[in-house]
């Protein structure tokens, strides 16, 4: 287990370095000269040269990359060219909002998705399966923005149960914070729940047809043990993969939901920085997103080995 863990962490580090190269190259591949853009409209060569020197843009490319890498590692992502606020600070204030939203909606999705998925697999041919499938199709087809607007229209405006928008930091007022998070988390979680439900259902059906499930029944185990312990544990591998992929997508892609509910999260920061051509911020956002993906992938792999002992041994043998 120790060696497997070490190997996976090392692999992740390599991937991360590759990610920084892509980000670095990507920003430089963008059309337009940042020095020219920063120097203002006059096109004064002296001013442009001064800006170049100030930001190290006249250094060799590999030296620029080296500065970028070392600065990133020390948490220095540069300064926003629009607001003059350090990018690190902007990320620090946006990330918690998005992480909270992602984890909440993921919990909602996993809970609903796994439960209905198991139900649909076990009650095959019963109305419960039909209902679960209908729910999944609906969850997949309804766009988030529409669901969000409907939620605001009915639950916030008409019934006034939940606030329509805004955000309160968790450590200032946990209750108010959660109160604001309920609707976005539900809206974001619905589509996810549908994806998880479909995966759970199909992997559960696979598991239920296996010989070891017949063995479990032949042992005289109660049906809830057969399904909830023997079959579910084997179906979880697929579900964990999906959840991991979705969590990565959530961190970068809750853009629409954050926008609708006015949450100052990562999605909002991304969109704003892109619209304002705020390159240092874009660079920071992309790097953090990439890191999040890599970290989540690492966690998913470690989870695999906890769920399925066969993966543990393969890692050790290699």
């Amino acid at each position: 287990m120790g060696r497997y863990l070490l190997r996976r962490v090392a692999q992740s580090m390599v991937t991360l370095v590759l990610a920084t190269m892509v980000v670095f190259a990507g920003v430089r591949a963008l059309p337009g000269d940042p020095a020219r853009a920063l120097a203002g409209e006059e096109n004064d060569p002296a001013r442009i040269a001064a800006v170049r020197a100030k930001y190290g843009l006249d250094d060799a490319v590999w030296l620029q990359y080296w500065h970028y890498l070392t600065n990133s590692l020390t948490g220095d992502f540069g300064t926003s060219v629009r607001t003059n606020i350090p990018v690190a600070e902007m990320l620090k204030s946006a990330l918690p909002v998005t992480i909270e939203l992602s984890l909440l909606s993921l919990s909602v999705a996993a809970l609903i998705g796994v439960l209905t998925g198991v139900l649909a697999a076990v009650r095959r041919g019963h109305p419960a399966e039909w209902l679960s499938n209908a729910f999944a199709l609906l969850g997949l087809s309804v766009p988030n923005f529409w669901l969000g607007l409907m939620a605001i229209l009915y639950l916030s405006v008409a019934l006034a149960i939940f606030p329509a928008s805004g955000h309160v930091p968790f450590f200032e007022d946990p209750v108010a914070n959660l109160h604001h998070m309920v609707l976005p988390a539900l809206v974001l979680g619905t589509g996810l729940a549908a994806v998880i439900m479909r995966q759970t259902r199909s992997s559960m059906l696979d598991a239920l047809g296996t010989d070891y499930i017949r063995t479990a029944r032949a042992k005289g185990l109660a049906e809830r043990t057969v399904i909830g312990v023997h079959a579910l544990r084997n179906s979880l591998i697929v579900v964990v993969t999906i959840v991991g992929l979705q969590l990565g997508a959530l961190i970068s892609g809750a853009v629409v939901t954050e926008r609708i509910f006015g949450l100052p999260g990562f999605g909002k920061l991304t969109v704003d920085s892109v619209f304002q051509r705020d390159y240092p911020v874009i660079q920071g956002v992309v790097l953090v997103t990439a890191s999040a993906y890599i970290l989540i992938n690492l966690l998913v792999d470690l989870l695999y080995s906890l769920i399925d002992p066969r993966i543990r041994v393969q890692g050790e043998a290699a």
Binding site: G220, A222, D308
Partner: protein
């Protein structure tokens, strides 16, 4: 149709059931397991398929009954039907009585109490029949916790004893292993340990050696024999391997296309097979003579038919060398041969003609 019983199907409790495998004498003349007219069909998308047709047999305590037949002859279905383990699209009629308690039509709870406790199973594929994500110790202990109400620690230490009993070396280390860390033979021994954990009275072994190396097979068969003698269990061994049958069985039941076609004591049946299907099966066994090329290995022409309905005819007639018009218009029933407990369902039994019997 079945007559659902009001009794709990747990039957007689043996004293000290959890204390260890011990000799459990059954002094009753009544057979432990009485199966009468067991009929199983499946509803499929292509309509009804008949898998088992009016199968009747007894299994006695301390006796090893072999059920023989080609793939698809219904032997596994009949065995899984004993404790209602079949999928939902199966319809089961007839009667299965364990110590006088009716199991066909019993409630799910009653059947659960029987499974693993009174009737235990060993399946063909030790590779896939154990759950890959749990240790073998946990899987053995699970039976004891469910049926004997043991706590985790007691069940685990009992699991160690059981693994030792079925001949697994260093059981104390092995209980911590996962199935993929064990060889096929060891996994099958784990399956047996799991099956005998609660001293079952009927042990159904469905092709237990088919997936194993020949060298491992003998060991597994020894364990089965040992369990029959120690537990005094009725062992129902399902196989298509006549070598295995000759080796371990007390009695043999030959099935063809869902029906019992011949039944008898093992030596009698091997010496004087009376059904032409049995004759064909025995002729298809390789021997020293076929290996030398002196005699060709004989095969039975054709395939086992898949039947929607069981016809009033002999289902083997189309492949039978002795078939007549009568075979195609009237179903032969099991008849006891004169002067032996050897039954055959055939209008023209092979019986007297020794030339048809391979050595």
């Amino acid at each position: 149709m079945s007559t659902p019983s009001t009794n709990a199907p747990t039957g007689r409790r043996r004293p000290n059931a959890g204390d260890g495998p011990e000799l459990v004498p059954t002094h009753s003349d009544e057979p432990l397991l009485q199966v009468r007219d067991l009929t199983v069909g499946f509803r499929t998308e292509d309509g009804r398929v008949s898998a088992v047709d009016q199968v009747s047999f007894d299994a006695r305590a301390g006796e090893l009954l072999a059920v023989v037949g080609e793939s698809g002859c219904g032997k596994s279905v009949a065995a899984t039907a004993l404790s209602g383990l079949l999928p939902h699209n199966a319809t089961v009629t007839g009667s299965v009585r364990l110590d006088g308690v009716e199991l066909v039509g019993a409630s799910p709870d009653q059947l659960r109490a029987v499974r693993g406790k009174e009737i235990a199973y060993i399946f063909q594929e030790p590779m896939t029949s154990l759950n890959p994500v749990f240790t073998v110790g946990r899987q053995v202990a699970e039976v004891l916790r469910v049926h004997e109400g043991m706590n985790r620690r007691d069940a685990m230490s009992r699991a160690v004893e059981l693994l030792e009993l079925v001949g697994i070396p260093t059981p104390r280390e092995r209980i911590k292993h996962y199935p993929h860390q064990l060889s096929g033979g060891l996994r099958q021994r784990v399956m047996i340990a799991m099956a005998v954990a609660c001293n079952p009275r009927v042990l159904v072994a469905d092709e237990p050696t088919t997936a194993l190396d020949v060298t491992v097979q003998a060991g597994i068969l020894d364990v089965l024999r040992d369990m029959r003698d120690r537990l005094g269990a009725a062992v129902v061994l399902i196989t298509h391997d006549l070598g295995v049958v000759a080796d371990v069985a007390d009695r043999v039941m030959v099935m063809y296309a869902g029906r019992v076609v011949e039944r008898g004591e093992v030596h009698e049946l091997f010496e004087r097979p009376r059904h032409h299907y049995t004759v064909g099966l025995l002729g298809a066994v390789p021997s020293a003579r076929t290996a030398d090329g002196q005699q060709r290995l004989r095969e039975i022409p054709g395939l086992v038919p898949t039947l929607a309905e069981q016809p009033d005819a002999c289902t083997f007639a189309d492949r039978c060398p002795a078939a007549s018009d009568k075979c195609r218009s009237s179903q032969p029933r099991l008849d006891v041969a004169p002067a032996s407990r050897h039954e055959v369902a055939c209008w023209h039994p092979a019986g007297t003609d020794r030339a048809e019997v391979p050595a």
